[in-house]
Amino acid sequence: MSKITDAREAVMVGRRSDGTLVRRPLSPHLQAYDMMQMTSALSITHRITGTVWSIGLVFLVWWLCAAAAGESAFNAVQWVLGSFLGVIGLMGLTAAAWYHTLAGIRHLYWDSGRGYDLPTTYLTGRAVLIGTAALTALTWLIMLITWI
């Protein structure tokens, strides 16, 4: 009995009607489709922002654990997050979090069986982008007003 090295072999190799084997194409086919269309670009951005937000959770954990550990540990994390790189990182994280949240709403809307036609797809896609920009700006406006 042969050993299966990759479970996907089972579904990626098929048979033609004459019985010969054929390797099925992968989807999305990187050579056949333009990956910079809004549909595919927003799709991969949802994955990237989800991963970024997951990594960003580490900073929230650090902040909470430092607060529980004591004043000097908390001051250290506040200093790092308030530094130039910290602020740049938090700005990116805010945008990623808002994008993933809004694109997540778009996914839930799709899960209800609606919004699959191309005009609606472009409309909701643009709404996600504009919403991300607006909510990120609003978040940082609130932060700056509190800070100053």
Partner: protein, 130 residues
């Protein structure tokens, strides 16, 4: 690309069934939706709450975390967020990491890290709140 080969006498359908979902195929998908709906209000609350406390002192921050309303929502957020993150990262790893050993190894490592971070942050909130 290499010539396609099938190195087994079992049919593709039989192989898929043998490797398949054990009647739990939609659980991962459904829990990802359930946690995403829970995270929707929690995330909006958390982002706007944190945005209002950029220059807070340790006393102010611990007082905020320790307030029962905030502590409950923080604990709920952490539980839903780490469940959602672990499941989402699992999907990404399963799609992009090739080779059974590398894939399972990465999955176990990521799930372990998510569990530990969740426990650590939950303990931190409880320690401040109680």
């Amino acid at each position: 690309m290499a010539e396609p080969t099938i190195r087994t006498l079992r049919s593709p359908l039989g192989r898929v069934r043998g490797l398949g979902s054990a009647k739990g195929g939609t659980h991962h998908w459904w829990m990802q939706r359930v946690t995403s709906i829970a995270l929707l209000p929690l995330t909006i609350w958390l982002i706007f709450s944190l945005a209002r406390m950029p220059d807070s002192t340790w006393q102010e921050a611990t007082a905020w975390i320790g307030r029962p309303f905030n502590a409950v929502l923080l604990l709920a957020f952490l539980a839903a967020a780490f469940h959602h993150a672990a499941n989402g990262l699992q999907e990404v790893i399963e799609d992009y990491v090739r080779g059974e050993m590398a894939r399972v190894g990465t999955l176990l490592a990521v799930k372990g890290v998510c569990a530990l971070l969740w426990i650590a942050s939950t303990l931190a909130v409880l320690r401040i709140a109680i």
